[in-house]
Symmetry: C2
Subunit: 570 residues, 2 copies
């Protein structure tokens, strides 16, 4: 019981010095590496940069206590920051105290939603986000975030939380480009892109081991931050009009209390729900990938509680909504983290930085952070996945395309909601017009396949109709029409055998339709038989009067029906 | 082409005197019989009684020209009147000119929605209303209408469009019961109930033929209207405070133009959509039942156009939303109608009544009409259906129960919308946790059934797993877990055969999961095979890389896999 809700009890008793050394090193590396992105994502959400640091401390501690992944690193991430910004700007203006307050309420709501979902074991809910919808949403968000950072790279102001609004806003301000900012931003961008493309190969070439090379190659953003901060400080870039992070209040995160303004809670409820679900999906996917590689187990419902705890911690420590982040987790993993203790060490490290070293970040140019974000989010744009989906299924692709389009044009909430609804609607639509096939016997076997695809034996007075779908309200009438049309086409028919090998459910509406089919066939002197009904479906049918009224029989297999109803030439 | 959109061209050329005589008689009978209910349903919708007559003239003519049912009778019906009243009272107060105007707009919107759905061939949309939801909605509406009529029977005022509001309103006014009205109403009610229960048997006993007896038994409301009108006139009941219909303007329906107030259109759009769908479902169910009995064909999409035309006609002739009505259609059918010409004759008859005989209705007590409605709608309450659904399926029953509850407590719109959403959600939930079964061979056959339900042969190094559901995003991860758990339980496993006889679809998300399963099994040196993949599913898989990566083979049948992978003791 305790172990279920406090996974830390599972590993802490076995903790030893070897694990401790590995975790300490990983914690140190993570501390240094995630500072730039923590600052950047806070700015992306329209919040002061320091909020990104605050949100990397206490939330990480809570996840370490409650989460089931050994190496997941929790903190601000790009998508969630984008969604946070979109949600907050609809209720307050960036920079105002209300905006900060709303960020706390959003974290609190997210935390509550995740925790309650976890306690009620509702993790399966996230299964309704299909892969194409997630991939489309991530791709579109990547583009959207990159567009939002363009203004910082160009040194102009731009507003809006949709790609259209941002581009429109940018277009009117192209004349005001601030050239020193652009030079710095573009330089950093090119450096980071080169790092990502070539650094690992070069480092390996120089003789570094695989993991070390990978890790060092990821330190590009840290180098860029250090170099441009030094440059900015030495040349006094701030005086030239280059935007910098500026004064960051030192000290540990303050204790904060989210307000209880009901109208604010109501306004943020849907965004909080979406942030929770999207954040959870991003986090659990990565946790499961890592766990599979290390042969560990993840409990989705306990993960909800872990992330819920992290967000509640954010709400009470001046933070913002958080989740398990792709890049911080990869860094943690490559740095050799063994247990959540690494996360605790990293939280401690960032806490120390926040306490004492924020003045170092004062001269850090915003354009550097924008370049860091841009390079990070471009990996979200997954063109091969889009192409592959198009090739495999037009229906899946259309859900993906709508998600991408609406995310860009209407924003993140509209995008993900319509993607989910459309993919559900398409599934329902597909099941409402089920495939069915008239089948015949493959000569010499007990196997039956479609008459249009295989060379099979048939009987003129018996129709074997295989229904390729569960029978439920949306397709009940369609089945009636299918059977009716078949009977009209074949005047010599005496028996209809419905093969139910693919029927996993017969609901009350479909039962009425079967009754109607049975009655109508009876009027035409055609007998209705069923074959290959599954156990659970049969159990249910026995609870109704249908089997008493059925004019024909229920056969265990199609072959049994074939033997009983025909005299097949053997 | 012409025949498709103007079904009248299919029967008019073959029209003859024999058909004409039958239709004329039916038209006359319908004229007399439907006048009480037409008046009553207009009042139920909060409209002047005469609107019910207007809505029985031109709409019926349009349906006769455009509809595909030979005997369906179109006009105001109880459910639609109730929904109309609920919709109109949310935008205007009953009795005001705006209320009448809104009724026209509602008819127009319904007409447009139905016509467009018909032209776009969207008739299948109505399949998403499951039988339990419809039955629950009709039962609850029956109760709701009966409660709404109680005020008229007691001679008090009551307001509201939910059962709760109406009962609350009634409770406060019980002291003001108008005894003469109650005596008249209760008397009529008892007379009508006795008619319904015993009249047909008595008439048969007196020697009347089956059809004649049935028809005469249905004339109870006409007798009640005639008798109470005469009584009311002779005794001057109106002066005693008994509410009567009062002056009805004579003359044919005036030409009306629905306004184009955009905010009104927007407010009435959802109600119009619901009225269209519910009206269509009620109408098509009956039309199909009658057509099946007479071996005629109904075209659902042309029916949409027919009902759309009828509602457009209502909008331009001072009417209200209409649909094919249960009781008027049964009367038409029993009166021997052969073609839609009977409907034209009835429209002509009601037109004549409206033109010249409305003064006769002046003294008709409202309580009589309320008794007529109450007796009519009590047949909507289908207790056996509710009990049967409970026995057959708890999921279907829960959708039904929610529909009933919300219809009574929150109103018709909330009831039907939540019923539809819940039944869809339940279906998605059920398919998200698919049933699967480990199967074995029934000795001596090529047939495989569940190891838990049948005595079967199994192989220790091969697992045959039958998946009983299409594989799509909502259950993709569930499948991964199922396979993973099975492999963990059986250490000696070398082969896993997924039997896909019930898999009608593998979407892009499920394809990724299969890829993941394949890769994970490969790491544990277990080979993944597929068996019994359906033709359309296989076509799609061939468009992906999955079959190239699959570690095992694709077998046509489970038996083929059994033969290839095992050495079954024959």
């Amino acid at each position: 019981m305790f172990k279920r809700y406090l996974p830390i009890l599972a590993w802490l008793p076995h903790y030893n010095r070897r694990l401790g050394a590995a975790d300490l090193l990983a914690g140190l590396i993570v501390t240094v590496m995630v500072i730039p992105q923590s600052l950047a994502y806070a700015l992306l959400a329209g919040l002061p940069a320091v909020v990104g640091l605050y949100a990397s401390i206490l939330p990480a501690v809570l996840y370490a206590l409650l989460g089931t992944s050994r190496t997941l690193a929790v903190g601000p991430v790009a998508i969630i920051a984008l969604m946070t910004g979109a949600a907050l700007s609809s209720v307050a203006s960036p920079g105002s105290p209300e905006y900060l307050q709303a960020a706390l309420v959003l974290s609190l709501l997210s935390g509550l939603i995740l925790t309650v979902m976890g306690l009620l074991r509702l993790g399966f809910f996230t299964n309704f986000l299909s892969h194409p919808v997630i991939a489309g949403f991530l791709s579109a968000s990547g583009i959207l975030i990159a567009v939002s950072q363009a203004a910082h790279l160009l040194g102009v102001e731009a507003s809006g939380y949709t790609a259209i609004a941002l581009l429109g806003s940018l277009a009117t301000r192209l004349g005001a480009v601030h050239w020193p900012t652009l030079a710095l931003g573009a330089g950093t961008l090119i450096f980071l892109l080169l790092c990502r493309r070539y650094a690992k190969g070069m480092l390996r070439h120089l003789g570094l081991a695989e993991t070390g090379a990978a890790l060092l190659a990821r330190s590009g953003p840290v180098l860029a931050v250090a170099a441009t901060t030094a440059l900015s400080w030495q040349l006094g870039l701030a005086e030239l009009g280059v935007a910098v992070v500026g004064d960051i209040p030192g000290g540990l995160p303050p204790l904060t209390l989210p307000g209880v303004d009901i109208s604010l809670w109501r306004a943020l409820l849907v965004p909080a729900l979406l942030i929770s679900v999207v954040g959870f999906v991003e986090s659990i996917s990565m946790a499961q990938m890592l766990a599979a590689r290390r042969r560990q187990r993840i409990s989705p419902n306990q993960e909800l509680i872990g992330l819920g705890g992290a967000n509640l911690a954010a709400a009470f420590s001046a933070g913002m909504p958080v989740t398990g982040g792709l890049s911080r987790t990869v860094i943690n993993d490559e740095a050799g983290a063994q247990t959540p203790m690494a996360g605790l060490f990293a939280a401690l490290g960032i806490g120390l930085v926040t306490l004492a070293f924020t003045p170092l970040l004062q001269h850090l140019p915003i354009a550097t952070l924008a370049a860091t974000i841009t390079v990070a989010v471009l990996t979200l744009v997954d063109i091969p996945m889009i192409r592959q989906t198009w090739r495999y299924s037009r229906a899946d692709f259309s859900a993906m395309a709508v998600t991408i389009l609406l995310t860009l044009v209407e924003g993140v909430e509209a995008g993900i909601i319509s993607g989910v609804l459309l993919s559900m609607g398409l599934f329902l639509y597909r099941t409402s017009r089920p495939h069915s096939a008239i089948v015949g016997r493959i000569p010499g076997t007990e196997h039956f396949r479609s008459v249009t695809r295989h060379e099979v034996q048939t009987l003129s007075h018996v129709a074997f109709l295989r229904i390729d779908e569960s029978l439920y309200f949306a397709n009940a009438r369609y089945l009636e029409d299918t059977v009716h049309a078949m009977v009209v086409r074949r005047p010599g028919l005496e028996h209809v055998v419905l093969i139910c090998s693919a029927v996993n459910l017969i609901d009350a509406s479909a039962l009425e339709s079967l009754d109607a089919i049975n009655a109508r066939l009876k009027e035409s002197d055609v007998t209705l038989h069923l074959a290959e009904i599954k156990g659970p479906v049969m159990d249910r049918l026995k609870r109704s009067d249908f089997l008493d009224d059925l004019t024909g029989r229920v056969f265990l297999s199609t072959y049994a029906a074939w033997q009983a109803l025909g005299n097949p030439p053997e």
